[in-house]
Symmetry: C2
Subunit: 400 residues, 2 copies
C-alpha cells in the first residue's frame, strides 16, 4: 500500500483523488502496490465529498505519519506550499506537484533537499498540464544535446488569440468570453501578461539545459497589446500570432536565452495550428531533430493525470532520481535576448517605407498606419535603430 496525502483540495487536488479512485485497477496493474489517499489537507471541510473523512487541517499530522509515502502538493504559490514541501521532503516523503511557480522559483533548492533525503521531487504537471513533456525530455531524449525548446505554454492566451484570429473578436471581448467560459481567471494578469508562460519556460529551460533559469532572468511580454489589425496583417503574410515561450542554447558557451513574447508563426508550422486552450511544446535535439508534444495544457483531469503518473513513479522508485533535477543557477547561466536575431513584424503610426522590409496589406488596415516584415534577421536594438523616431504600435518577432 502506498499512502498519499493531498495538500489543497481545489481543482487539481480533487481531480487527483478522483483519478486515483476511478482508475484504481488500471493503476494497480502497473505498480505493484495499490495507491490510496490517506489524507486531504485543506483549510475548508468537504462534508459532501467522498473524501470527507480524510480531510484534516493540520499539516504536522502528515509530516509525522510514517505511513505517508507520497505528498501531493496542489496548493499553488510559493509561500505555504514552499514550507510544506520543504517539511515533507525533510520528513523523508516524496513530493509530487503541479505548482509551476514553486518549481520555477525554488526548484533547485527543493531538489537538493530531495537528493539529501534520497526521495523524489516530481513536477510533470507543472508544465503543459497533462501533456507528457518533462519526463520524455529527461528520459526519451536523454541521448540528445538539446538546442531549443519553444512552446505555446498558456491555454488562456492561446484561446484569446484563437478567438481573435478565427472570430474577429477584439482582445477585450475575447478575454471576456474566456472568463465567461472559465478559461480565464477574474484577475487574468498572470496569464495575459505572460507570467504563467514565463514560469513554464523556466522549468523547461532548467530541465532541458541543466541549470536553474529563474523568472527574473526571462524577459516577458504578454498579449495585451495585440490588436485585430496585427492579426489581419499576420494573416496577409500567411502567419498567425502566437504567444511563445522560448529557450535557446548557445553552442559556444552553453548559456541559455529564455524569453516570452508574441511571435508571428507561419501557417505551415505545426505550432500555428494549435488552437483554443491546447498547448504544444517543440523540442529540438541534435539526434532527434524536431519533436512536438501536444494536448490540453490545463484542466482538472488532464493535470491530475500527470500528477497521478508521478505518484506512480514515486511509488515505484523510492529514491532520488538523478536525471530529474538541475544544477544551481546564477548570472552566468543566461545570455541576453538582445543577441537573438529574428525577422521582425512592425506596425507603425505612419506609412513611410521601412528600408529592407516588405509592406503588408490587410483589408481592415487603419489610415495612416502601415505594417512591415523585415527581410533580414536583426537584433532588437538593430530593429529599434531602423525604426528610430517613428511611432511603433506593435513589434513582434517572426519564428523561423
Amino acid at each position: 500500500m502506498v499512502n498519499v496525502a493531498i495538500l489543497g483540495f481545489g481543482t487539481v487536488g480533487s481531480g487527483v483523488a478522483e483519478v486515483i479512485a476511478k482508475n484504481n485497477q488500471q493503476i494497480a496493474r502497473r505498480v505493484s502496490n495499490p495507491i490510496e489517499v490517506k489524507y486531504v489537507l485543506d483549510v475548508r471541510d468537504f462534508p459532501s465529498s467522498p473524501f470527507a473523512d480524510k480531510v484534516i487541517h493540520d499539516f504536522s499530522i502528515i509530516e509525522n505519519d510514517p505511513e505517508v509515502d507520497v505528498v501531493v502538493e496542489t496548493i499553488g504559490g510559493a509561500k505555504i506550499a514552499l514550507d510544506f514541501t520543504r517539511r515533507a521532503l525533510l520528513a523523508g516523503k516524496s513530493v509530487v506537484t503541479s505548482n509551476k511557480e514553486l518549481v520555477a522559483t525554488h526548484g533547485y533548492e527543493l531538489m537538493q533537499i530531495a537528493k539529501e533525503k534520497n526521495v523524489s521531487y516530481l513536477y510533470e504537471a507543472s508544465v503543459g498540464g497533462g501533456i507528457p513533456i518533462l519526463k520524455p525530455i529527461r528520459t526519451c531524449l536523454a541521448a540528445n544535446e538539446l538546442s531549443e525548446i519553444t512552446g505555446i505554454l498558456n491555454g488562456t492566451t492561446n484561446y484569446i488569440l484563437t478567438r481573435m484570429i478565427r472570430a474577429g473578436l477584439s482582445f477585450e471581448d475575447a478575454l471576456k468570453e474566456a472568463q465567461a467560459n472559465g478559461y480565464a481567471e477574474q484577475n487574468p494578469a498572470a496569464d495575459i501578461e505572460g507570467h504563467d508562460a514565463c514560469r513554464k519556460i523556466c522549468i523547461l529551460a532548467s530541465l532541458g539545459f541543466g541549470r536553474q533559469v529563474s523568472p527574473e532572468q526571462v524577459p516577458t511580454e504578454g498579449i495585451t497589446s495585440i490588436t485585430l489589425a496585427d492579426v489581419d496583417y499576420a494573416r496577409s503574410a500567411g502567419m498567425k500570432i502566437k504567444l511563445l515561450g522560448r529557450a535557446i542554447r548557445r553552442e559556444s558557451d552553453n548559456k541559455v536565452c529564455a524569453f516570452v513574447a508574441p511571435h508571428l508563426v507561419s501557417d505551415e508550422s505545426p505550432l500555428a495550428n494549435v488552437e483554443g486552450v491546447f498547448n504544444a511544446i517543440s523540442v529540438v535535439g541534435d539526434a532527434i531533430g524536431d519533436v512536438m508534444f501536444y494536448g490540453q495544457g490545463a484542466g482538472k483531469l488532464p493535470t491530475a493525470s500527470a500528477v497521478v503518473a508521478d505518484v506512480m513513479d514515486a511509488a515505484k522508485h523510492h529514491c532520488y532520481l538523478k536525471n530529474n533535477s538541475w544544477e544551481a543557477g546564477g548570472d552566468d547561466v543566461v545570455y541576453s535576448v538582445e543577441e537573438i536575431r529574428s525577422r521582425w513584424y512592425a506596425r507603425l503610426g505612419d506609412d513611410a517605407a521601412v528600408p529592407g522590409a516588405k509592406a503588408l496589406h490587410a483589408a481592415g488596415a487603419a489610415k495612416g498606419e502601415s505594417a512591415w516584415l523585415t527581410e533580414e534577421k536583426l537584433t532588437p536594438s538593430e530593429v529599434k535603430a531602423l525604426l528610430d523616431g517613428r511611432e511603433v504600435k506593435s513589434l513582434y518577432r517572426v519564428l523561423e
Copy 2:
C-alpha cells in the same frame, strides 16, 4: 562501465554507435556509468569505420561475454533477429531494439523471457522513430484508461500523400520522387501497402491496451489506389487524405479493434497538418483527453536517439520493467472492424445520387464520375449495401 553490443551495422546500428560516441558526456551526466560500444556484429567488415576494431562475425562471442550488459538489435526482420534476441535475453542481457516486425509478431514471447531472466526488452524506436511515444504511454499516461490510439505511422506514405496534395503529383510520380530522395525503398511494398503501419499499430495497441495484438488480426489497406481525383474531392470538403493506423478499445468488454486504412481528415485536425516524412500519434485517455506526439518517424539519428535512450534506461534499471510489457494475445482480444461506424467518402463510376450523402465537387473531376460524403455513420457493410451494384472506385472512412 556499461558495455553494449550492436547487432547489425546498417543505418540505425551505425547511428547508435555514432550517438553514443558523440554525446558521451551528455549521457554520462545522466547515467552513473559511462556507456561504451564493445562489439559490432555484422556479416560485413567496416575497415574505414571508427568502430572497425569492434566488428565481429560470431554472435556467440557476445552471448558468452559476461561483460556485455545490453544488446542492441538493429538487424530487422523476424528470423535471425529473433534467434539472437532470444539467446541474448536467455544469457541475461537486456535487449534494445528498433525492429517493429519482431516486436509486433514475437513481442509477448520475448517479454516473457525477459521477465524470467529479470532483464529488460525495450523497443521505443520500433514506433515513430525518435518520437517519444511508448514510454510516455506506459509511464506519463499510466493513470489513464486509454480509449483510442490513432496515428500517421509511416513517413514514406505520408510523404507520397503530401506530394499528391501539395504538388499535384500522381501516386506513381510521388512514389518515384520518394525513391529518388531516399524516402522510399526500391521495393516499397511494406510501406505503400500499409504493412509497416500495421506492425506499429499492433505495438501501440498491445502496449496501450495490455494484450498482444498481432498483424494478422489487423485489416490493412495501403495507399496504392488513391488518385488525384480523391485528393481534389477531399480538398473540396476541407479535408486531406491520410493513411492512419487506429486502435479503438470497446468499453463494454475491453476488446480492441485495430486497422490500417486511408482516411479523410478534417483540415482542422492536428493530424491533417502533419506533412512529409513526419509522423504523429494521437492518444485519447479518460483523464488526459487527447494528446499528440509529433516528429520524424524514421531516419538514422532520430531512431538512434530513441535506441540510446532505451540503452540508458536499461543501464539504470538492471531489471524487468513490469509496465513495459503486455499479456498474451488470442482471438478474444480483438473485435471486428465491421463494427466501427464512420461517415464515408465514396467515389463512384456513375453520377446518380447516393441517398443520405452529400455530393462533392472538384474542379478536375472526371466525366461520368461522382463523389459523396455520407451524412450518417455507417458500418462497412451498411455503406456497401448503400452502394450495391454501383462501381465503387474509392471508399474511405472519415476520421471523426
